[in-house]
C-alpha cells in the first residue's frame, strides 16, 4: 500500500530532513511513525500524499509511483487518501456539517450523495448533535473528530494522521486514538505520526522510529 525505497529529502543549503528511508506498509495495517519534534515525521507524511517531493528514492502509494504523478492526476490521487493534522485545519467560518461536506462537494459529488454520506459519517463519529456548531464552539477533541470526519467521508484507502493528539488532553487523545483504531479495524490503512512513546507502547502496533533523519527501528 505504501512503499518508501531509499527515500531522502534534502532542503536548501544541504539541510537534510530525511535520509535513506526504506519501509513497506501493507493494506489494513496500523503503523505509528515515531520520533522527536523535528525528526522528519511530517515531511515523511507530506511526501506520501505528494505535498513534498523526495530528493532521492522512490515512493509508491496505492500502486502508483508518486513521483511520476502528473500535476493533473494529483487531485484524483489525493481523494483516495485522508489526512488529519495536529492543528485540525478547519474552516472557521463554516459549521461542523459544512466543514465535513466541503470535502465531498469540492470533488463534485452529487448533493444527495453528500447528504447521505454526511449523515453516516457524523453518526459514526457521534457528532450529529453538533452539526450546526462552528469550530470555535467545539472542544479540541471534537474539532479533531470533525477533521477525521472530513477525511473519512470520502472512504479513503489510507488515513494519514500527523500528530492528531498533539493538542489534546489525555482523555480526548484516547478517544481519537480509539476512533483511528476502529477505522483501521474496518479496513482503512492508518499511519499515525506521534512523538508520544507511551501512546505507542499502549497501542501495541507496528512502529517506525525516526531519529536524526534516519529510520532506526521498525518493529
Amino acid at each position: 500500500m505504501i512503499t518508501f525505497n531509499k527515500v531522502s529529502k534534502v532542503y536548501q543549503r544541504d539541510w537534510v530532513a530525511l535520509q535513506d528511508i526504506t519501509f513497506h506498509i501493507d493494506k489494513g495495517e496500523f503503523v505509528f511513525i515515531c520520533g522527536a519534534t523535528g525528526a522528519g515525521k511530517t515531511t515523511l507524511l507530506k511526501m506520501a500524499y505528494k505535498d513534498e517531493e523526495p530528493t532521492h528514492g522512490t515512493i509508491k502509494v496505492l500502486d502508483q509511483n508518486v513521483r511520476e504523478l502528473k500535476k493533473k492526476e494529483i487531485p484524483k490521487f489525493r481523494r483516495k487518501i485522508g489526512v488529519v493534522f495536529q492543528d485540525f485545519k478547519l474552516l472557521q467560518d463554516r459549521t461542523l456539517e459544512e466543514n465535513v461536506a466541503f470535502s465531498l462537494e469540492v470533488t463534485g459529488t452529487p448533493h444527495r450523495e453528500v447528504r447521505r454520506k454526511l449523515m453516516e459519517t457524523l453518526t459514526y463519529l457521534r457528532l450529529s448533535h453538533k452539526k450546526y456548531a462552528f469550530p470555535y464552539q467545539l472542544s479540541g477533541g471534537e474539532q479533531q473528530k470533525v477533521a477525521i470526519a472530513r477525511a473519512l467521508i470520502r472512504d479513503p484507502y489510507i488515513l494519514l494522521a500527523d500528530e492528531p493528539t498533539g493538542n489534546l488532553d489525555a482523555r480526548s487523545s484516547e478517544e481519537i486514538t480509539n476512533i483511528l483504531e476502529d477505522i483501521n479495524y474496518k479496513g482503512t490503512t492508518v499511519v499515525m505520526a506521534t512523538h508520544s512513546i507511551s501512546l505507542v507502547k499502549k497501542m501495541k502496533k507496528r512502529m517506525l522510529r525516526i531519529e536524526d533523519c534516519r529510520l532506526v527501528q521498525d518493529k
Partner: protein, 282 residues
C-alpha cells in the same frame, strides 16, 4: 455541478467576508474611476486637437471682377484641397454683424459693403501643416481673380508641436496609470486570497482540482470588476456633471465609458485573480 458549487463558494465568501470584499471592491472602484477620469481628459484633449486641426484652412479673397464658379472649380482641382466654400460679400457682412452684435452700428459709417467675397478652403489631413498651407496658398495666388490669401503658416507647426507633446505626455501618463491600476487590483486580490490560504490548502488536500479551486476566486474577481466598474462609471458621471458647471462642451461618450469601465473592471478582475491564485496553486 463544479461551476454551481464554485459560484456558491464565491457567493459565500463574498457574504461571509463582507468587509474584505468591500475593501477590495473600493480599491477596484477608485482605481477604475481614476482611469476613467484620465481617459475622459484624454478623450477631450483629442477632441480639442481634432477640432483645432479641422480649423486649419486657407481664406482666399476675391477681387470684384472674379468669375466665382470658374475659380472655385480651379481651386478644387489643386491637390490637397478637400472642400471650397464660397462666402459672398453680403454673407461676410451678415456674419460680421452677427459677430459684432450690439456694436454693429459702427458698420453704418460705410456707405457700401467694404468686405470682399472669399473662399474658405478646407484641406486634406496631410496638408494641414505649414508647408502644405504655403504650397497650396501660392498655387491659389497664381489664379486670376484672387487678391490675397490668409493662413496660419509657421504658427500651425508650432501648435502641432505643442499638441504632439501633450499627446505623448498624456500617453505616458495613461500607461503609468494603467500599470498602477493593474498592480493595485492585483495586490488587493492577492491579499484577499492570502487571507483564505487555509481554505485553498484544504481544498487541495481533499482533492479539488486546480480549476475548481480557481472558480470561486475568478467569480469574485468578475463580480468585483463588474461592481467596481459600475461604481467607477457613476463617479465619472458625477464628476462630469460637476465639471459642466465650470467648462463648456465637455465631450463625454457615456455608453463607451460605461462599457469601458465594466469590461475593464472584469478584465482586471479575471486577470488579477487568475495570476494571484496561480501562485497558490503551484
Amino acid at each position: 455541478m463544479a461551476l454551481r458549487i464554485g459560484i456558491r463558494e464565491g457567493m459565500r465568501t463574498i457574504t461571509r467576508h463582507g468587509s474584505l470584499f468591500f475593501l477590495s471592491l473600493l480599491v477596484a472602484a477608485i482605481s477604475l474611476f481614476l482611469l476613467a477620469l484620465f481617459s475622459l481628459v484624454t478623450v477631450n484633449l483629442y477632441e480639442a486637437i481634432r477640432i483645432l486641426d479641422e480649423k486649419i484652412e486657407i481664406i482666399a479673397f476675391l477681387d470684384r471682377r472674379a468669375d466665382v464658379d470658374a475659380l472655385k472649380g480651379n481651386i478644387q482641382k489643386i491637390k490637397g484641397v478637400e472642400q471650397v466654400h464660397y462666402i459672398s460679400s453680403e454673407q461676410a457682412l451678415t456674419d460680421l454683424r452677427n459677430e459684432l452684435q450690439d456694436t454693429e452700428g459702427i458698420l453704418d459709417v460705410f456707405e457700401e459693403n467694404p468686405l470682399p467675397a472669399s473662399f474658405r478652403i478646407e484641406l486634406e489631413g496631410s496638408f494641414r501643416n505649414a508647408r502644405g498651407l504655403k504650397d497650396i496658398s501660392s498655387k491659389i495666388m497664381l489664379l486670376e481673380g484672387i487678391e490675397e490669401t490668409l493662413y496660419g503658416g509657421e504658427l500651425v507647426d508650432q501648435l502641432k508641436k505643442i499638441t504632439n507633446g501633450i499627446v505623448m505626455f498624456d500617453f505616458g501618463l495613461l500607461a503609468i496609470i494603467i500599470f498602477s491600476v493593474i498592480f493595485v487590483i492585483f495586490q488587493t486580490i492577492k491579499l484577499t486570497i492570502f487571507a483564505r490560504s487555509t481554505e485553498i490548502e484544504i481544498m487541495k488536500l481533499v482533492g479539488a482540482s486546480n480549476g475548481f479551486i480557481a472558480i470561486p476566486f475568478t467569480f469574485e474577481g468578475i463580480v468585483q470588476g463588474l461592481l467596481g466598474g459600475f461604481i467607477a462609471f457613476l463617479l465619472t458621471v458625477i464628476t462630469y456633471r460637476v465639471a459642466t458647471f465650470f467648462f463648456d462642451n465637455i465631450y463625454f461618450p457615456q455608453w463607451w465609458f460605461l462599457l469601458g469601465t465594466i469590461l475593464g473592471g472584469m478584465f482586471f478582475g479575471i486577470i488579477g485573480s487568475s495570476i494571484a491564485i496561480r501562485r497558490f496553486l503551484k
